[in-house]
Structure formats: C-alpha cells, structure tokens
Subunit: 273 residues, 2 copies
C-alpha cells in the first residue's frame, strides 16, 4: 500500500512543551492524563516514571504535574494547601481563557463557553468563573437561558471556528453586548486544512490519535467529509487489513497529541499491506 | 384598487419624539433635516416655523435643534462655544453608539462601525472616536485594514442584523477580542417583518418614505425580495397609474420617519385607481 502523509500533522506547541516538562520531571505524577494519548503516557511512565493519577488523593508522592488541559481552580488550591510541588504543564493557550473567564465574570459579565462540558479543558476554564458559566456546543443549548445583556464568550481551544460563530451569531442577535474572545488555538488550523487536502486526494485516511482527544476527533470529522473511508486509530494495532482491499493510496494524519514514533510505526505497518 | 396596509409601519419612537420636540420649539432651526422625510419637514416649517439649515453658519437665530441622527462632536462643541440654545432631538438609540465609540476608543479599542459612511448618523457616531474608526458595509471593505487585536464594533441603528453578523464573523475569525455592541434599533424589526408578510401576499407594494431614509430603503429592499413589483415613493404625487394594470391588491407600508398623514393620502389616491 502506498502511504502519503498530510503536509502538516502531529504535535502542537502545548503538547511538545508538556512532554518536555514531564521528561524534565521524572518520578512525578500528573493529575489526569498529561495529554490525550495513552501510548505516549505509557512511554513517559516506562522511561521517566511519570505516573498518572485519577485525582489528587491518588498521588503517592508530593510532585504533581498539571496536565496540558489545565485543572479546576479548587483543585489547584488544594494542591497548594497540601504543599505539593506543583509543575504546571497547562498549555498557555488554555491558561488564557481561564484568565478571561475569571476577570470578565468578576467584571459582571455572564460567561458562555463554547465547548464540550465533559472535556477537562472546559471543566478547568469553567471553574474560573466566579458566577455561573453556561457551556454550549450549539445554539440550541442556549434556548431559554436567562442571560444578562453583557456576555463574554470564549471557545474550547480545539474547536472549529465555524461552530463557534454559530454561538456568537446567536448571542449577538439577542444581547446588547457580546464580548467575543477567539481562544481557538491557531496550531490546530494547519493540521485541519492539511487533513482536508489529504482526504480529497486518497482512497482511505487513517487519523492517528487518542480516542478522547478533541482535536483528533475534529481531524477525523474533517477527513470523513472529504474521504468516504476514514478511520480514527490510536496506533498500528488497531489497523484492519480488510479496509485496504481495492485501495491504492492511504493518507495518514495525526492529532496534536500524537507523537511521531506512533505515526512512524503506523506508516511502516500500512506500507507492508 | 384594493389597498392593504402592513400590520406595522411608520413612525418609530425616536422620530415621534423628535417631531414633538420640534413642535414644542417653534422658530428654531435644525442642522440638516430633522428626519429623512421632506414632506414632514415642510409641514414643520409651515406650521411651526422650524427651518432647516445646511450647517451651523446658515442658522439665522441662536435656537438650534440637533436632528434625530445626531451631530458630529466638533459641531456640538461649536454650538456650545457660540452659545447657541441647543435643543437635542438626537434619538436615544443613536446617542448610545456615540457613547460606546467614545469610551471604547479611549480604552484602547480599535473601532469598526457597520454602516453607510455618508449617512449623518454614522458621521456623528464616527466623530466620537478619539482615534480613527473604520466604517464598513461589508467584510470586503475591511480587507487589508491593519487593526489591533482588541476591536469594538457597533452598527448603524437601521441596518439588518444579518449583514451586521457578516462583519462580526469576519472580525471574530481574525482578531483575538471582538467586543460586539448590537446597536440595531429594535423598533425597525416589526416594520421589517410586517413588510415581508405584506409583500408575500399582494400584487404590488408601495413603500412610502424619504429617498435618503436608510430604514425606508431597507423596507423597500425587503419588499422587493418578496414581491416582484415594489416601489419607493415619497408621497402620492409619485404614483404612476400604469403600475396597477392587471393588479388586484396593493400593499402599502411606510418608513419610520413617514408621518401618517402622507400614508393616508397615498392610500386614498390608490383606492381611486
């Protein structure tokens, strides 16, 4: 099978930074997975003894790494109170909406967060609101909400701008002042447009990344729009040879939290088919 | 000819207020037409001796009325310096974007005004910007503009929200913080949706209002979308009987600055056809 890689794929600035921080802090524990990639998490554990705890109480030493997605404000407070050695690997692009939400809610704005309520980044950002923030993925989730005429709106960093604008337009139509902070991370755009170009020109696409990674899922969504046969896989083990029957070219791309070593192993597996 | 009136048409709050102010201040002079309706301006002149001057220097007494659309900041200053008796008939919905533009430009925001650069309201609002405001009707007019990452955007009060959102979306896609003030006047919406319903259900539409009235032009645009035969007329004199050949029902609506006495005279003329 012939393999073509997307012109741009893989690690973003925040993930690279977090991995480098973890490597420099062996024998520490991250609260929740450092990044949304189980294979890389395993590598960090095996090579640097960087463990992953479910929550603060599960940490068996006092060296805590805050994951790329950030952490809830009260948990950070607990870490400080319990005198943990805190190593902050929060992506700076995530720290920004946290600060915006904190400041603007203090200034009397109602807060709307565009994103997935269950995603750790959104949970963290939301926790910085001193009042009550509304989280929505689409305008329908805002129906019937009673909001002030002063609203500040931020986005989960890995979302699509077009979907963010739907929320913005809905709010601008109904409220006097809508203060829009475009907190979508630019780093995801080149991967996204490269995935689109790739998908248009191949018979099958493999999107390599964590199943719970928001930006990987976004890439998979885009690839599926432009190529009928598109799969999201964590690694080479998940590849099914049946998929490649009657196919000539396979395109491969990877999420912002997917390390190059996994991409390379998938490429070499597919080439053998 | 059978005539049907739109369910909602004519005078808005700001126009009603301005005419009442003018009637209570006879022997005064407005700087530019009080409202965009020449027939009503004539009536005020004949009945109350409220004249219309092109500019401050043309005023022959010291009693100046500021029109509904407001006035440029430096002209207001001149009026004060020259110790004019200033009667402010600026629509409160226009005073609002003036204040927003003044405050936000002082706070370091770049200002974008959605509207018609030549319209007196926009000229007035723009004059309150302490830096340099950009005026645009569509996103293309923003191409290549170098703006700060902090932008405040307001709208001319009589514009369509859908067109405002095109400007908002363009800005949100490109700049970090876009502070959107929806300054479109709600009073124009009922007239607009009634014009749409009217136009769908008649053979010909007459939109009565001033040719330079932004909201009247907007009504005409909407009527033309839903009825093939739509005309903008200032008064009954402009009606052409030829238009009504083979037509059964004529719909009539009027802009926010069109007085009822003009609408009544048009209705009675059309009914005679």
């Amino acid at each position: 099978m012939k393999v073509v890689l997307a012109e741009k794929y893989g690690f973003c600035f925040g993930v690279k930074r977090a991995i480098s921080i973890a490597e420099q802090n062996p024998n520490s524990t991250t609260i929740g997975p450092l990044i949304h990639n189980p294979n890389e998490i395993n590598r960090l554990k095996e090579k640097f003894n960087v463990k992953t705890a479910q929550d603060i109480d599960d940490i068996d030493n006092k060296k805590a790494i805050v994951r790329t997605h950030g952490i809830e404000k009260d948990k950070l407070k607990t870490l400080k109170e319990k005198k943990f050695d805190i190593i902050d690997a929060t992506c700076p692009f995530v720290t920004k909406p946290q600060k915006i939400v904190e400041e603007l809610s203090q200034d009397g704005y109602d807060i709307v967060i565009f994103g997935d309520e269950k995603h750790p980044e959104v949970k963290g950002v939301k926790s910085y609101c001193v009042t009550k923030a509304v989280v929505a993925m689409r305008p329908a989730e805002l129906f019937g909400k009673k909001l002030k005429d002063k609203i500040a709106v931020v986005s989960q960093t890995t979302k699509k701008i077009e979907d963010f604008l739907k929320i913005v337009d809905y709010l601008v139509k109904r409220y006097k002042e809508v203060r829009v902070f475009n907190t979508i991370c630019n780093a995801t755009f080149p991967n996204q447009s490269a995935a689109k170009e790739l998908a248009k020109n191949v018979d099958i696409v493999l999107v390599i990344g964590g199943k719970n990674s928001s930006n990987t899922k976004q890439l998979h969504k885009i690839a599926s729009e432009y190529c009928k046969d598109s799969h999201l896989n964590e690694n080479a083990d998940e590849i099914n040879k049946e998929w490649f029957k009657d196919k000539k070219i396979c395109g491969i791309t990877a999420g912002a939290s997917t390390p190059d070593w996994i991409v390379r192993s998938v490429v070499s597996e597919v080439e053998k088919i």
